[in-house]
Structures are given as structure tokens and as C-alpha cells.
Point group: C2
Chain length 263, copies 2
């Protein structure tokens, strides 16, 4: 009994650092296409096989063109092998067109672990079983992501009730529906497995241009506590910040993406 995330990011080795993959229709978002971060996870799974260290530590991705359902080819490159960390690059192409490019640092995350201190900016959430499922009364056909990932929030977000608010921020719980536990690879997908924050203030969905994801620690099993926030909209651009904590309260990932707003 496998999990969707594992079977849908599977890669088959070819020659010279090339790995082939099949992009499925099981991870589509608001725009009806596969999420860019799903394509990124496929690329990171291929790159991980070339890297001498075990965990993605930092991933910087550029989304050049929309990813489509169908075959994909990833090209991986080990750029530099250091003692504590190594650096690599991966591109994902479909039909001969490059769709995404990512540079990444890998490390053995437990080697970088130690005491933590935080200076604000963590989610404030009651336990998941005291929260609501914001999608319980909602049908959103075509957004297959919602069959893969589930959420818990303190209340149904305003924009889902047709009443957007004034703050593009949200605290929520998240996990893969089929019991697949989080790990660093899953975090390279989950940082974007939610609706854009600008929906909270009544704007149209945005598309991701670039994202940087830092994986701080291997997550413990269970729900992930998340805080997503946009601080600055300037013209057609905004950033979206995401922090992810595991079920034991440890920060496990941070991401920031630059998005292009729909006029």
C-alpha cells in the first residue's frame, strides 16, 4: 500500500543524470493545472538521487512555464560536494521545453540541529481536533489537490464564505490525506499546497514566479502547523511567506515566493 505522493513523484533513471517522470492530474490547483511545487518535488526527488548528502536544506526554484499532465524529463547535476553540504541543480522539461529550474543545497539535517530560539512570528492554533475543516461544506471540482491534502482552521476563511477581509494572512494545520507522513522531500511540495494569501483580501489568484524553501529539520509525524502571510503588494508583485512547524512544535521549514498578480 503506497502513498500518492510517493508514486506520483517517482523517477526512472536514464543516462547522464537524466530521470524520467510522469506528471499526474492528482495535484492540480485553482488554475486547473498541476501545482508548480508538485513539479518541484518531482525534480527534487530526482536530484536527491545524485546528491551525497541526504536532505534538501535549501531549494531555490524558478517556474518558467506552466507544468502539464504527462511525461517529464529531469536533468540533474551535482555542482559541488563539500564536507557538511553539497550543491546541485535540476531542470524539469516537457516536450523539450524547460518548465522549472532549481538550485539546491543538501545536508544531513541532524548534523545541523541544536537549540532553537524564536523571535515572534509563529502560528497561534488550538489542536487540530478543536478546529474546523474549512472545505467540509464545499465542492471545488477540478482542484484535485484538495483530495490529497487536508486542512484545519479556527474558522472557515472569509474569502471561502464570499466575505474577504483586510489581512492577507492565515494560520492553519495541514497534512497529506492518505497518511503519508511529512519528510524533507514532502516539504519541498507542501510550502505551496494552499490558496494564495491575496484571496483573503478579495484579489484574484496569483502565479508563482520564484520560491526559496529552507528545510530546517526533519519533521516529526503528524499535522503541520502553518503560518502564511503576504506583507507587501507593489503593483503586479507580491511576496508570500510561509512557516511550517511540526507536531512537536519545531520549526521545520520556511519559504518565501515571489508571485505575479492577475490584474
Amino acid at each position: 500500500m503506497g502513498h500518492f505522493f510517493d508514486s506520483d513523484t517517482e523517477v526512472t533513471p536514464g543516462a547522464d543524470g537524466i530521470y524520467n517522470a510522469e506528471i499526474t492530474d492528482r495535484w492540480t490547483g485553482l488554475h486547473g493545472r498541476p501545482l508548480g511545487s508538485y513539479g518541484l518535488a518531482v525534480g527534487m526527488r530526482a536530484l536527491a538521487r545524485q546528491m551525497p548528502h541526504s536532505d534538501p536544506l535549501s531549494v531555490s526554484a524558478y517556474f518558467l512555464r506552466p507544468i502539464e499532465v504527462g511525461p517529464a524529463e529531469t536533468r540533474t547535476e551535482l555542482v559541488h560536494k563539500g564536507r557538511r553540504m553539497s550543491f546541485g541543480q535540476v531542470t524539469l522539461s516537457q516536450g523539450g521545453e524547460e518548465k522549472l529550474r532549481a538550485v539546491a543545497a543538501f545536508a544531513d539535517l541532524p548534523d545541523l540541529d541544536g537549540p532553537a530560539s524564536s523571535f515572534g512570528d509563529a502560528p497561534q492554533l488550538p489542536p487540530p481536533d478543536e478546529c474546523v475543516d474549512p472545505l467540509a461544506d464545499l465542492a471545488m471540482p477540478g482542484i484535485t489537490l484538495l483530495d490529497r491534502v487536508e486542512y484545519r482552521t479556527t474558522e472557515v476563511p472569509g474569502w471561502l464564505r464570499g466575505e474577504p477581509g483586510t489581512s492577507p494572512t492565515r494560520d492553519f494545520w495541514m497534512r497529506l490525506r492518505d497518511g503519508r507522513e511529512p519528510d524533507p522531500l514532502a516539504l519541498t511540495f507542501l510550502w505551496d499546497a494552499m490558496s494564495p494569501m491575496v484571496l483573503e483580501i478579495g484579489r484574484a489568484p496569483s502565479t508563482t514566479l520564484e520560491a526559496a524553501i529552507h528545510i530546517r529539520r526533519r519533521p516529526a509525524p503528524g499535522w503541520l502547523a502553518c503560518r502564511a502571510a503576504t506583507r507587501h503588494i507593489t503593483g503586479s508583485l507580491c511576496e508570500e511567506n510561509m512557516g511550517i512547524w511540526d507536531s512537536t512544535g519545531n520549526l521545520v521549514a520556511q519559504s518565501r515566493q515571489l508571485t505575479l498578480l492577475t490584474p
Copy 2:
């Protein structure tokens, strides 16, 4: 009468997208070596010459090995040319060793401009002439960066008085000393032209592993208002966030870097 920033980032075209540069000793930091972000600005200047759009919009950089004073070779690649933006990549090598690698999106920034909204997180500063020069009474030989960049703060930071505090954050003004006005290229350097935030809480200096810089707008001439903050230290890792506003109060850049702490 040229400016140091322009002469010290100059690149000479070779064949096949290669540009040669000379890394000077005029931009060294606490560790006595040229700042990684100075090397990045050299690489971005080379890449800009290959790109069909005029401004860096997003830059993602990996710092593989320390940059040294001396000759450097940059290799540029136009990855994808789109209508509104284009994507490229640059590596900077010295002595045959790759020192840094960056992927970037370029655009014509005025095309992306429009009304702005902010949701917190902007610096609170009196005008520069009501602030102090935090380095006025300080000699820091070997840190040539301080001869290139000047700062204004509301008071001399605690760590500079030997009294570190409890909050790794700082608001300050910044500009290039010789009157060179800020532009998008200078912002690909200035995001890291300051001491690490962890010094504010008495920790040893950190080194930058990765950074993402978003350039939101071409800056107006004059001082830049900055807010730098670290929110989460976990073991050997911390992130440092930087926001830069121009003299007319517009957000012009955001950056986040992942740093490795010295034990």
C-alpha cells in the same frame, strides 16, 4: 569621475557568454574577505548584458566557496526569454573553482509597477540627519566595506558598545558613500552590506549559504531605509530577512538569506 561600485563590478566580454572580472579588496566584510554579495553583483552585471529585459527582478544565489581578491570568470546563460520577463543563470569561478551560482528573472520593472499596499513590517526611522553614524567613533581596520557604505541609526547598536541585546533586528539608513545612487544592480549587493543580525544578541558572525533577493521597483536617489530581522535560530541555521525602502517611501527590495552560524 566614476564610482567604486561601477569600476569594481566591471566585466570584460570573452567568448560564448563568458565575462572576466577583477575582484578588488575594497568590499571586504567582518571575515576579511570580499562579501559574497559583491561577487553576486559582479555576476549580475555580466548576466544583465545577456538579458533581453533591463532589470533584475528576482535573484537566487548559492555561495559555494569563499570569494577571494583577484581575477574571476563569470559564465552567463539566457535560459528562457518570455514576453514580460526572461530567465538567466550565472556562475562565478576563480582558479577553476565555482564560487557562486545564481538564477535570476529579469523584467522591465516599470511595467510591473502600480498601487502598493503594506501589511506591517516597515522600518520606523527619523530622517537620516536626526540619526547618528553608528561607526563615527569606531575603527574597524580591514573591513573595507565601511569605506564604501555609510549608515545612520537611532542609536549605536548595543553589540558595537559591547552590550548585545535580546532582539536580532535593526532599522537603519544606508547609502553608498561616494554618491553613487541606488539602482536595481546595486540592490543585488546592498541586501547584505551590513553585519549579521545575530551579532545583536551576542552570537558569532554567520556566513551566507543561500539568498533570494526580490527587486520590486527602481529606487529613487538618496538614502535607503532598511529593516533587517532574524526570526528563527534552529541549531546551526538561521534566516535573515531584509526589506529596503527608497527615499520616497516605496519598498524597492526584499531579501531572505539562509546562514550558517559559527559555533
